[in-house]
C-alpha cells in the first residue's frame, strides 16, 4: 500500500505541472481552426493518456462543450482515457494456442490481475490484450509481455511470470 500511495502522490504533483503546461498549449491553439485534435494529441503525449481533468480543461480552453471533446476522444482509437500499463501483456488466441488452452491462460491472467481485456491494473504495471498468432504455434499456448514471447504457458505458472515484472518494477523504483 505504501508503494501505491507514493506512486499516486508523485503522479499528482507532476500531473499538476503538466496541466499547467497544457494551459500554455491551449493559449497557443485557442483561435486556430481545427485545433481540438492536435491539442488532444499533445495532451496525450504529455500525460500518457487523457484524464477527465485534462479534457475539462481543454473544453474550457478551446471554448467547446465538454460533450464535443469527449465525443471526439471516444471516436478515435488513438486516444485513451485510461493509462496504458508499463507492461503490455498479449495473450495469443490463434488456433494452436486456443486449442491448447490459451483461453485458460487468459482467464488466469484476468483473475490474477483483476482486470479484463483492454484494461490496465490500478498500479499501472500491466495492461491486458489478446492477439492472433505470434508464429510459435508448435509451442502453444503463448503470451507476449512487451516484446518477449513466453511459450508453453500454464495457467498455474502465470503468477511466476508476473512476479518477475513486479520485482523489476520494485527494483526500478528503489534505484530511481
Amino acid at each position: 500500500m505504501a508503494v501505491e500511495n507514493a506512486c499516486a502522490c508523485g503522479e499528482k504533483l507532476s500531473e499538476e505541472e503538466l496541466l499547467a503546461k497544457l494551459d500554455e498549449v491551449l493559449l497557443e491553439y485557442k483561435d486556430k481552426p481545427g485545433a481540438l485534435i492536435p491539442v488532444l494529441q499533445i495532451a496525450q503525449g504529455m500525460l500518457g493518456y487523457l484524464p477527465e481533468t485534462a479534457l475539462k480543461r481543454i473544453a474550457l480552453g478551446l471554448n467547446k462543450p465538454y460533450s464535443e471533446v469527449a465525443g471526439v476522444v471516444s471516436f478515435y482509437a488513438f486516444f485513451s482515457t485510461s493509462p496504458r500499463g508499463k507492461n503490455v501483456i498479449r495473450v495469443c488466441l490463434g488456433t494452436a494456442c486456443y486449442v491448447r488452452g490459451g483461453k485458460n491462460v487468459l482467464d488466469a491472467l484476468k483473475h490474477q490481475l483483476k482486470i479484463d481485456v483492454g484494461e490496465t491494473t490500478k498500479d499501472h504495471l500491466f495492461s491486458l490484450e489478446v492477439a492472433r498468432c505470434f508464429g510459435a504455434c508448435g509451442l502453444a499456448p503463448t503470451i507476449a509481455i512487451n516484446d518477449k514471447v513466453y511459450k508453453r504457458v500454464r495457467p498455474t505458472k502465470v503468477g511466476e511470470i508476473l512476479e518477475q515484472y513486479k520485482e523489476a518494477a520494485k527494483q526500478g523504483e528503489a534505484h530511481g
Binding site: P33, A35, P38, Q41, F75, T95, R100, C137
Partner: protein, 1014 residues
C-alpha cells in the same frame, strides 16, 4: 574534407529500423573509426528500400552490392573485407531461393529486376532527409515547369496521362482537379490522404519515408492547378518516422523558399500543414477525413455535394492519396506520352503494392498496371515458402476481395479486379497459402470493419454485426446451409444502402470468398470441417484434420510410442482398413500439416505407421456390430480397389454382407495393377484384403461390368444398393501422330500387364511421357525389367511434377533420366515400329487455372529422342456411359460420376459412386474416405438412420505431460536398400524404422489433440 569513395546506403525505413538498422550503423561508425576510414565511407540513411523481410539492408556503391539481414556482428567483417580490401562479403548477399546462387548486385535480384520503378525511383538511392539529393534526381524540376504552365495546361496534361487515384476506386485525377478548378470560390484546399489504415498495407508510409519531397512536389503542382493556397497532409499518428520526415521536408521547403510566397520567382503562394490522424479507419473516406481535419468526429456525410464543391471548411477541395501525388511530378516532367508507355490503356502507369503474407519476399513492389498476379507473387515475390501451395491473394484490404489461383493469370488493373470481386484499393496484397482458411479470413476482415464502423449508418453498424455473428457461428461448427444465402443477401444489402464507400465495400471480403471459395463454407457447415485446419472448434489436431480418411493420428502415434501396437492398429482401422497399404504408399497430407514443423521438422507419421504394421502378427480387426436385418440386405460393390473394398469393410462393420465384383483376376484395383511391388509388396495388400473377406465380404474376381453382368441385372437379382468404384482405368491418348505405331503403349496398360500377368514387353530405349506417379512407376518398372535407358519426358519443370518428390528422387538414383520442358509433338516410326519421339522445347508461360505455369513452345528447333518404346502416362479417364446400359447417371465436368459429396449418392437413388471414378486419379486415403462415406450413405438409405459408430471420437488414454518441453530428437530418416540391390528386382525399397527410432519419433509428437480440462 575528403571525398568518400564508398557510399553505404542504409535502409532506415520503419521495418529496417525495427530490425536493428540503427545498431548496425553504430557498429559501422565504430568499426570505420577503428580503421581510420570514417571519411572514406559515406553512411547514407535512405527510406524504405522495399525488401522489408531482409532487413537491415545495406547497398554499397560503387557497384550496388546488396547485403541483407546485416547484424552488428557482421560489421567487422564487412569493413575489413569490403571497405578495406574491396572484397564483397558473399555470406551476406542475396541467394536465389531456388538455385541458391549468390546474386551480388541489387539490380540483378529478381525482386528488384522485375519491378518497374518509377514513383519509387529514389527509394534507397537518396538520403531520405536530403532535399538536395532529391533535387539532384530532377526533384522540383516539374514544379518549376508547372509554374510556367497555366493551371488548365497542367490539368490537361494530367488528364491525358490517364492517371487514376491510387487510393482505391481509381477516379481519374485530372477530372477531379478540373471539377475543383471550375468550382466557384477564392479559397480552395488540396489534401493528401496518408491515413493508410488497411491491415497489411504500408505503401504510403514507405513513400513518405523514402521520398517525402516527391509527395510535396505533387501537392504543390496540384495546388497550382486547382488554385489552392493551403494544403493538408492527413497522416496517421502511428507513423512517427513518416511524420518526422514530412515535418523535416516541409521545414526545408519553407527555409529555401519552395513553400511560402512567390515560389520560384512566380506569383504562386502555397504552404502545407500536417494533420495527424488518430486511428479511425473511417477517416480514410474523404468526407470523414475532412471532418477530422476540421477537428470533429470523423464521420462521413452523404455525397453530393462532392468535396470538389464543398469540402474542407465547406470550401472546394481535392483529396488525393500519397501515391497519386507521387505520380504527378513524373507526368509533368516527362510528359503524358512517356507516362502512358507502361500500364494498360485504361489504367496507365505503375502501382505500388505492399506484398505480405505467405510469400518469400515480403516487401514493397512497384509494377506496371496490368501485370499478372502470378508474376507479382512468383517472379517478384519469390513464390510461397516452405513448399506450400498458393491459394489466393487478398487485394484491397477490408474493402477488397480474394483472387484464387485460377486467376493468377489475369491482369492486375482496376476493371479486372472489380470483375473478380476485389478492388485495387490502396495496394495491400496479402498472399495466402493452403493453410489459410478463407472463412476465417473473411471473418477477420469483417471483425476489423465491424470494430471500425463509425456507427453513423445502420446498414454498416448493424449489418456487419449480423454478418459477423453468422461467420462466428460457421467457424464454430454451428452454421446452417441457409447461412450462406443469408450472408449473401445481407452483404448485397449493405453494399446498396451504406452511407459511405467504406461501408458499401465492407461486405466485399465475405462476398468474394463466397464466390470463389463457396466449397469451404460448405465444408464448415455441412461437414463440420475446416479444410485448412484453422478454425479451432472444428479441428482436433491438424494431422487428423488433413487426413482424408480422418485417422486419429496422434492417437495411434502415441499408442505406438507406448508399444501398444495392437491398440494402435485397431485405432487406425477405426477409420482406415488399409493400415499396411497406407504405411507404404500414402501421400501423408498429415505430415504436411504437422505442427512440429514449426519447431524443427514434421513428424515422420508414415514411417511410424510402417514400423507399426511390421509388428502385426494377428490381424487386428476392429469392432463389428452384427445385425440380422442388415445381413439380409443385398448390396453390390463394383470394383475391388481401395474405394470399393473400404465401402465393403465399413458396411460389414454395420452387419451387412456386401458382394464385390472385380473385373481383373486379382482384387486391389490400382494398388495391385498400377503400384509396383517394390513400393507395395503383394502380400501386404493380400493380408488386408483377406481381413475384409473374413468380415463377411464376398469378392468375385474376373467379373466385369458390361461383360459378365449389368447394373439392371443386379437390380433384378435383388440388389438394393450398388456402389460403383470402377476407377479411372483407361490411359489418356497423347493425341499426336504416330500413336498407332508398334512399341507405343500407355502407362496404366504397361503396369497392369506386368503386375497382373508377370511379364510385359520392354524396350531397350524407353521414353515415358508424363510427370505423375504412373509415369514414375512405369519408368522404375522398366528399369527393373532391363531397359538400357529410361527417359521421362515432361512438359513443365520438375517442381510442377505431380508425382511424389521422394519417388522422383529414387527414380533418378536408379538411373531414370528426367527431361523437362519438352513436349512430344510426333512419334516417328520405321516399318511400323516407333524409333523416335519428336519433341518441342518448351518454356513456362502464363499461369493456367490450376495455378501452374502453362508450358508453351519455345520456337527452338525440335529435339529427336531415339527410342524403341514409348509409354504415355499423361492421364487416366473413365468411359462412364459404356457400362451403364441405358441408366442415366449424371457426370461432373471432368467426365466422372457426379455424386453427393457426403453420401456418394448419384442422381439415381440406389446407385452410389466413389474413388477415382468420381475424383479422377487420386490418393488411396481419398479412396478410403469415399468408400466410408458411401457405406454410411448406403446404410442411411437402406435403414433411414445413421449408424456410423466409428465416427464418434474416443479419447486415447496415453500419457502426456503438457508441462514438459518437447523432446529434442530430429526427424527419423527413412532407411532405403542400396540402389545396386534393388535395381534389378522388385524387392521393397524402404526398410522399417527400428523400434528405438520409431518410439523416439512418436515422442516428438506435440499432441495437438491434447485438451486442457476447462
Amino acid at each position: 574534407m575528403k571525398t568518400p569513395r564508398l557510399h553505404m546506403m542504409m535502409c532506415f525505413g520503419t521495418a529496417c529500423v525495427a530490425s536493428g538498422a540503427p545498431k548496425v550503423k553504430e557498429a559501422l561508425v565504430r568499426e570505420l573509426q577503428k580503421h581510420g576510414m570514417q571519411s572514406d565511407v559515406a553512411l547514407v540513411e535512405t527510406g524504405c528500400n522495399g525488401f522489408c523481410a531482409g532487413g537491415p539492408i545495406i547497398t554499397v556503391y560503387p557497384g550496388g552490392t546488396f547485403y541483407h539481414d546485416v547484424t552488428p556482428h557482421d560489421v567487422a567483417e564487412l569493413v575489413e573485407e569490403h571497405v578495406v580490401k574491396g572484397r564483397p562479403v558473399e555470406r551476406l548477399m542475396f541467394r536465389h531461393p531456388v538455385t541458391q546462387k549468390v546474386i551480388p548486385c541489387v539490380k540483378d535480384i529478381p525482386f528488384f529486376a522485375r519491378q518497374c520503378v518509377r514513383v519509387l525511383h529514389n527509394k534507397g538511392r537518396i538520403a531520405a532527409e536530403s532535399m538536395e539529393e532529391y533535387i539532384a534526381q530532377d526533384g522540383y524540376a516539374a514544379l518549376e515547369h508547372a509554374l510556367k504552365m497555366t493551371p488548365e495546361q497542367i490539368i490537361d496534361e494530367v488528364k491525358k496521362s490517364g492517371l487514376r487515384g491510387r487510393g482505391g476506386a481509381g477516379f481519374p485525377t485530372g477530372l477531379k482537379w478540373e471539377f475543383c478548378r471550375k468550382a466557384a470560390g477564392d479559397v480552395k484546399y488540396i489534401l493528401c490522404n496518408a491515413d493508410e489504415g488497411d491491415p497489411g498495407a504500408f505503401m504510403d508510409r514507405s513513400l513518405l519515408e523514402a521520398d517525402p519531397h516527391a509527395v510535396l512536389e505533387g501537392m504543390m503542382i496540384g495546388a497550382r492547378a486547382i488554385g489552392a493556397k493551403e494544403g493538408y497532409i492527413y497522416c496517421r499518428a502511428e507513423y512517427p518516422l513518416a511524420l518526422e520526415r514530412l515535418d523535416a521536408a516541409i521545414k526545408q521547403c519553407r527555409e529555401r523558399g519552395l513553400l511560402g510566397k512567390g515560389i520560384l520567382g512566380s506569383d504562386f503562394d502555397f504552404d502545407i500543414f500536417v494533420s495527424q490522424g488518430s486511428g479511425a479507419f473511417v477517416c480514410g473516406e474523404e468526407t470523414a477525413l475532412m471532418r477530422s481535419v476540421e477537428g470533429f468526429r470523423g464521420e462521413p456525410r452523404p455525397r453530393p455535394p462532392f468535396p470538389a464543391q464543398k469540402g474542407l471548411w465547406d470550401k472546394p477541395s481535392v483529396l488525393n492519396n500519397v501515391e497519386t501525388f507521387g505520380n504527378i511530378p513524373l507526368i509533368i516532367r516527362n510528359g503524358f506520352e512517356w507516362y502512358r508507355s507502361v500500364g494498360t490503356a485504361k489504367s496507365p502507369g505503375t502501382k505500388i503494392f505492399a506484398l505480405t503474407g505467405k510469400v518469400a519476399n515480403i516487401g514493397l513492389v512497384e509494377v506496371p498496371i496490368g501485370i499478372s498476379l502470378g508474376e507479382i507473387v512468383y517472379d517478384i515475390g519469390g513464390g510461397i515458402p516452405n513448399g506450400k501451395k498458393f491459394k489466393a491473394a487478398q487485394i484491397g484490404g477490408p474493402s477488397g476481395g480474394c483472387i484464387p489461383k485460377e486467376h493468377l493469370n489475369v491482369p492486375v488493373d482496376y476493371e479486372t479486379l472489380v470483375e473478380l470481386g476485389a478492388i485495387m484499393g490502396s495496394g495491400g496484397l496479402i498472399v495466402m497459402d493452403e493453410d489459410s482458411c478463407m472463412v476465417d479470413m473473411a471473418r477477420f476482415f469483417l471483425d476489423f470493419v465491424q470494430e471500425e464502423s463509425c456507427g453513423k449508418c445502420t446498414p454498416c453498424r448493424v449489418g456487419t454485426k449480423r454478418m459477423l455473428e453468422i461467420l462466428d457461428r460457421i467457424c464454430e461448427g454451428k452454421g446452417e446451409m441457409a447461412d450462406i444465402d443469408k450472408l449473401q443477401a445481407l452483404g448485397e444489402q449493405i453494399k446498396d444502402t451504406a452511407l459511405c464507400g467504406l461501408g458499401q465495400t465492407a461486405p466485399n471480403p465475405v462476398l468474394s470468398t463466397l464466390r470463389h471459395f463457396r466449397e469451404e463454407y460448405v465444408a464448415h457447415i455441412r461437414d463440420k470441417k475446416c479444410p485448412a485446419g484453422i478454425c479451432a472448434a472444428l479441428v482436433k489436431a491438424p494431422c487428423q484434420n488433413a487426413c482424408p480418411a480422418g485417422v486419429n493420428v496422434p492417437g495411434f502415434v502415441s499408442l505406438t510410442g507406448e508399444k501398444r501396437y495392437a491398440e494402435a492398429l485397431q485405432l487406425h482401422r477405426e477409420r482406415n482398413p488399409f493400415a499396411s497399404v497406407c504405411a507404404r504408399v500414402c501421400f501423408h497430407t498429415c505430415e504436411d500439416k504437422c505442427r512440429r514443423d514449426t519447431v524443427d521438422d514434421s513428424l515422420a507419421i508414415r514411417q511410424v505407421k510402417r514400423f507399426l504394421v511390421e509388428q502385426e502378427v494377428t490381424v487386428q480387426v476392429p469392432e463389428i456390430r452384427e445385425n440380422e436385418v442388415n445381413a439380409k440386405k443385398h448390396v453390390a460393390i463394383v470394383g475391388a480397389g481401395p474405394a470399393g473394398l473400404s465401402c465393403a469393410y465399413f458396411l460389414a462393420r454395420l452387419g451387412y454382407r456386401p458382394r464385390v465384383f472385380e473385373a481383373e483376376p486379382r482384387p486391389g484395383g490400382m494398388l495391385v495393377q498400377a503400384i509396383p511391388a517394390y513400393r507395395l509388396p503383394r502380400e501386404e495388400l493380400a493380408r488386408e484384403v483377406r481381413m475384409i473377406e473374413r468380415m463377411g465380404v464376398d469378392i468375385e474376381a474376373d467379373s466385369r461390368l458390361g461383360r459378365d453382368f449389368t447394373l439392371k441385372g443386379l437390380r433384378e437379382e435383388g440388389y438394393e444398393a450398388i456402389f460403383l468404384a470402377v476407377g479411372a482405368p483407361t490411359g489418356t491418348k497423347l493425341g499426336i501422330p504416330g500413336e498407332e505405331l508398334q512399341g507405343v503403349t500407355d502407362g496404366i496398360r504397361f503396369l497392369r500387364e506386368y503386375n497382373l500377368r508377370g511379364s510385359v514387353p520392354v524396350g531397350k530405349k524407353v521414353a515415358v511421357i508424363g510427370g505423375g506417379n504412373a509415369a514414375i512407376d512405369a519408368a522404375r518398372t522398366a528399369i527393373r525389367l532391363g531397359a538400357k535407358s529410361v527417359t521421362v519426358l515432361y512438359r513443365r519443370t520438375r517442381d510442377e511434377m505431380p508425382a511424389y518428390a521422394e519417388e522422383i528422387t529414387e527414380a533418378e538414383h536408379e538411373g531414370v533420366q528426367l527431361r523437362t520442358l519438352i513436349a512430344p509433338t510426333e512419334l516417328i516410326g520405321k516399318n511400323g515400329k516407333v524409333t523416335a519421339v519428336k519433341c518441342s522445347p518448351m518454356l513456362l508461360g502464363e499461369f493456367d487455372r490450376s495455378g501452374r505455369r502453362r508450358p508453351k513452345e519455345k520456337n527452338d528447333a525440335p529435339i529427336l529422342v531415339e527410342v524403341d518404346q514409348v509409354i504415355a502416362a499423361i492421364g487416366q479417364s473413365l468411359n462412364a456411359s459404356e457400362a451403364m446400359d441405358g441408366i442415366q447417371v449424371n457426370l461432373n465436368k471432368n467426365g466422372f460420376f457426379a455424386v453427393n459429396p457426403t453420401t456418394g449418392q448419384t442422381n439415381v437413388e440406389w446407385l452410389f459412386a466413389g474413388g477415382d471414378a468420381v475424383l479422377g486419379p487420386s490418393s488411396v486415403a481419398e479412396a478410403v474416405a469415399a468408400g466410408e462415406k458411401a457405406a454410411v450413405g448406403i446404410d442411411a438409405m437402406l435403414s433411414g438412420e445413421a449408424h456410423a459408430f466409428w465416427r464418434e471420437e474416443r479419447a486415447v488414454d496415453t500419457k502426456f505431460d503438457p508441462e514438459a518441453e518437447p523432446v529434442e530428437y530430429a526427424r527419423a530418416e527413412a532407411r532405403l536398400i542400396p540402389v545396386s540391390k534393388r535395381k534389378n528386382n522388385f524387392a521393397e525399397v524402404e526398410l522399417p524404422l527400428t523400434e528405438g527410432a520409431a518410439t523416439r519419433e512418436c515422442r516428438r509428437c506435440l499432441r495437438c489433440d491434447f485438451r486442457e480440462e476447462t
